[in-house]
Symmetry: C2
Subunit: 359 residues, 2 copies
């Protein structure tokens, strides 16, 4: 069957490029029982192939056998979900033999999942599952119809009496509206924490934060003027600040600060993960900013900034935290190990979900 | 900003592979006003690069400039959405500079969209939009928790009085449960036809049809024993055969025949697109098959088989049609030009959506 399908698709793809020899069937990545991983890549002509991944301190050279298969086995790694890519003669690419692709507009990375002895917080477990809906909304701020994703928790009933709180969750630079679910597993983390009674059932809205070539501040308008009204018209939600949180990673972490701190009447929870803040919008908002700290500290039930000590933005984020402290805001730092990674993103989100909407 | 982000991600990706020269910024694909398309690919070491696409009769050679950028411009093509890929020294890959990737587990293809002067049936138009939900369900037939996609039409209300008909729509071999929306634009085609009054508002369920290493017949069990009950428990739907249709493409077109024709009490509409039928399940079901044709023709409000004359399965599909005719079934063939492509898939689906649930 597989062989026949192969022939079908060969014909279908109109492949008449001469193939000097048949490409060997290869499997990549292979995660072994001891959590070591073998990566493989096929090329007869490449001169150098490396695997680069967030479980490695530096790219690892792959070695070619006589059939043109490059491979390497890396030592056991901690259970988690990791992005990785191949560097073939200085060109980055996703692993051609891995279906699981990192949702990103710039970098071509694949994903490898290392299971734990026990299920991890992002694992598909035998608990009730919410659903993710792909929706279109009209953005007056941006003058276009855009897509966003909405997680509704298990048992959600659009016509029910329960009004749910809403977390607005923003991806990183060059990510897409799918990255928080496909890489960050936000839906499964929420399912698991809700099932354990550790998180309140909530709605999670994941917009697309890239508004280029428009200025970044237009995304803040989009969230406040278009996305919140869309959500409040279409879902059974709390329409007060105590029922709204905003969180985001990297560029989205910077957007979170812009959106949340300039609208403390709208968001009682602001969770910024490894924020990238070297932007015009951030400078315009917070250089020479003189907030009414007493008032804001009452409005904000939670204002947290999270970062890893190996994050290349660590020093910058420490300055952000110091700046907000200097303005007398009750910012709660969460400093962990690790870098500017989606492994840390999942940790930050899992932490926030247990803090939100508890008052 | 872009430059700074580039640096950020360079650091983030732990890129220490020596780069003999900076990779030039390239854009691919570029769709020009006259609908010609320029493709570009960067490699200093590749010996041959071709672009292969479903708008081409044969792969086209790309030419390298002194900076290592390979490119070619192909003549204007008919407005549509086309899969394409690069062949680099006999290795197929998606276009590294194109975000829009064909959802498939085997082939690495990208997508290029050529807009028309007027919106096409799959274009995002200014009409009410349904939504796509990603759901988990438990499959007793397969012993696992699986994902499926559910399109609900504009205005759908889970607790409303309207009971909707349901189309079960199956992807092709090595596609995924996302291929019908991400490549086939089933949701936008439905949105547009519903807005034009040409299709009845309906729910479209898109399961994952690949059950390997289990036998294909287990997918038929999964649909009948698990998916239909899941849908009927969670959605406001008609629970009779007149409210159920099954359709699918290629391997999914074969599955459609298996699922629909062995369960005519459950499905009044069976729409098979370019079916691949060289399978054990098909042989077991239809070799020496003696249906009660009179009864089945009354049960089936529509039984159609569609195929393009350039489809590599055309001769096989003609034999399928002849076989069902010989059994006295009222099969309605739809023969069009074109090959085994998702361009034809969209056409077949748009045709079916205007035929379903009209009685």
């Amino acid at each position: 069957m597989k062989h026949i399908l192969g022939i079908i698709f060969l014909i279908n793809s109109l492949i008449v490029v001469a193939q000097p020899q048949r490409r060997p069937a290869i499997s990549s990545p292979d995660v072994h029982a001891d959590r070591s991983i073998t990566f493989r890549y096929y090329s007869l002509t490449a001169q150098r192939v490396y695997v680069s991944g967030e479980f490695l301190n530096a790219p690892v050279k792959m070695n070619k056998d006589t059939s043109g298969v490059w491979s390497v086995t890396v030592p056991p790694v901690q259970p988690d979900i990791y992005p990785y890519s191949f560097w073939v003669d200085s060109v980055q690419m996703a692993d051609p033999n891995n279906t699981y692709i990192f949702a990103n507009e710039r970098f071509k990375r694949s994903i490898v999942e290392i299971p734990g002895d026990k299920p991890l917080i992002h694992s598909l477990q035998n608990v009730p599952h919410g659903k993710i809906s792909y929706r279109y909304y009209k953005s007056s701020a941006l003058g276009s119809t855009r897509q966003l994703l909405v997680y509704t928790p298990p048992g959600y009933d659009a016509n029910g009496k329960i009004k749910y709180p809403v977390l607005y969750l923003i991806h990183g630079g060059s990510d897409t509206e799918e990255t928080w679910t496909k890489v960050g597993r936000a839906n499964l983390i929420a399912d698991n924490l809700i099932a354990q009674g550790k998180a309140k059932p909530m709605i999670i809205v994941m917009p697309y934060g890239n508004v280029r070539p428009k200025p970044m501040a237009d995304f803040t308008k989009d969230v406040v003027n278009d996305i919140i009204p869309f959500v409040e018209e279409n879902y059974s939600v709390i329409k007060e600040s105590k029922g709204r949180a905003v969180a985001g990673f990297s560029v989205g972490g910077g957007q979170t600060l812009n959106i949340g701190l300039t609208n403390p009447d709208k968001f009682a929870y602001v969770c910024s993960y490894a924020p990238y803040t070297a932007t015009d919008e951030f400078n315009n908002n917070f250089t020479n900013w003189s907030p009414d700290a007493n008032r804001m500290n009452k409005q904000l039930k939670l204002f947290t900034i999270s970062v890893g000590t190996e994050d290349f933005l660590y020093e910058s984020v420490k300055k952000n935290i110091a700046m907000f402290k200097e303005k007398k805001l009750n910012v709660e730092p969460l400093i962990v190990s690790g870098g500017h990674t989606w492994m840390n993103c999942k940790l930050f989100l899992a932490t926030s979900l247990q803090q939100l909407f508890k008052d």
